[in-house]
Symmetry: C2
Subunit: 286 residues, 2 copies
């Protein structure tokens, strides 16, 4: 039996749900519904982390229930779980397991960037089906060069996992390095990734990237999926997010978190979250 | 009372121990002593992770006992703990607590690189004294620009914590981005960090960096501490590691892990590890 590649699995999930939407699972405790907040507020230290991690799992369980069948993928941001220490990691492990059971692909937003045995340990920690998370894909940083990508390639080839390499982010200071040189360092990365000529090695390309840059990155990685953060809370609109789509209209996974999980109106109600997921999924339908 | 800066605390610890040596706490399970190995070998999945994490804590406890008073700092590599999931994070939390009790500074080798609320969550996870690890310093990646550094600056200024930013690594493919452009991207980072003009913002500068590059980075960051990996197992010699020292002979923290924790001769005996720590500390004495 041949394992399907991550790209194939993602494409099928997009076709099944009819949308390019990916829900970011960024648990901001301060924005949690009041009934969950009261389970950890007032506590401190390890006691608070234990209680908050339980609230995070309860929150995510509800979000994942609302996501099932509606979007192809979810994207937990590891920082918010690590902030809660070991109980946070446990909540993350259980979140990934629930997502899998609900048929949702898991993109672990880890932005790890290391080499050799260290990178292999991260690959095992995050992607291995025998490891604690068993995520379907991971975001990684290319600052150390292709050496930082290669230890993950085994998981891509043999276990059908995917990578999204940070090519172009759109925070204000991103140009310092990503825009440095001619060609820019961002384009150098995109071309190096394109030359690997492997399926399931995608790119993170922020929604606010200038159109000419998006086109150059797409030209270097014609078949790859781009993970596009920046929708909603960060100001990105549908057209910005989809600017780098392939000729078949696919190849883009748009992620949103705060604008969907913590909708400003009717704050804290699950029906508002459900409506926000629906609106986002519809806005970026495939 | 004014909190001492990380640079001041590091300098005092170096003066007290008389060495620039930092022991990397990279638990390679396959290289563990036989009596520890047998506690997890043959197990699988979550059961193995739980048992292996206990072995890691037992291993680290012994290493930290041998390090006390002999070296200024230790450097746990987060990947090897995350590989063991929540029990691994618990072992990491306890390792950091033991190191602190033994008067050892903790440099968390995390190479995180994110922005805004995510980077603040990492800063809280790793550096905050109210967080799970309470490390003294952290390694971070500059690929997203100075935006990735700034969320950590509060911990630096207010809580006496330190940063080591990945400026120049020496893995074979590091030149793809770090050596890109003129000036090189590595030098662009060093200059941007130098312009922040804050204490306790250091740089990671690999032992095999060409001398002219080391000199240029030192010129951009004249007072900063450099964390220098690459001693021993990775081939770096004393003179390579100390090439970027400040005129006062300090400003360098040399790290070694595999060559010290898993000495090839007399494999697995704690007296061999103790001798390797002593030899390393003496070789890079201040």
């Amino acid at each position: 039996m041949t394992t399907a590649s991550f790209d194939e699995r993602l494409q099928r999930a997009v076709e099944r749900t009819g949308t390019l939407a990916c829900i970011g699972l960024d648990p901001h405790l301060s924005k949690f519904p009041p009934d969950l907040k009261k389970t950890f507020e007032g506590r401190t230290g390890a006691d608070r982390r234990e209680a908050a991690a339980k609230a995070v799992l309860a929150f995510n369980s509800e979000v994942l229930r609302l996501c099932e069948g509606k979007v192809p993928a979810v994207k937990p941001q590891l920082a918010f779980y690590e902030e809660l220490g070991a109980p946070g990691w446990k909540a993350l492990e259980e979140t990934c397991a629930i997502a899998r059971r609900r048929g949702l692909l898991v993109v672990a937003d880890a932005k790890r960037g290391d080499i050799e045995s260290t990178a292999r340990a991260y690959a095992h920690a995050i992607l291995s089906d025998d490891g604690p998370l068993g995520a379907d894909a991971v975001t990684i940083s290319p600052w150390l060069g292709i050496d930082a990508i290669e230890p993950f390639v085994g998981a891509v080839k043999e276990a059908g996992k995917g990578l999204f390499v940070l090519v172009r982010t759109t925070n204000p200071a991103s140009a310092l390095l990503q825009g440095h040189g001619d060609p820019t360092a961002a384009l150098v990365v995109a071309r190096a990734l394109g030359q690997l000529d492997l399926p399931s090695i995608g790119a993170v390309v922020g929604a606010q990237t200038p159109r000419a840059e998006v086109a150059a990155i797409r030209s270097a990685m014609p078949r790859s999926w781009f993970l596009v953060p920046g929708y909603g809370a960060q100001g990105g609109r549908r057209d910005d997010c989809l600017a780098g789509a392939r000729p078949d209209g696919l190849g883009i996974l748009v992620s949103a978190s705060r604008s969907v999980l913590y909708p400003p109106a009717d704050g804290g109600s699950w029906s508002a979250v459900e409506a926000a997921i629906d609106a986002f999924a519809t806005d970026v339908r495939s």
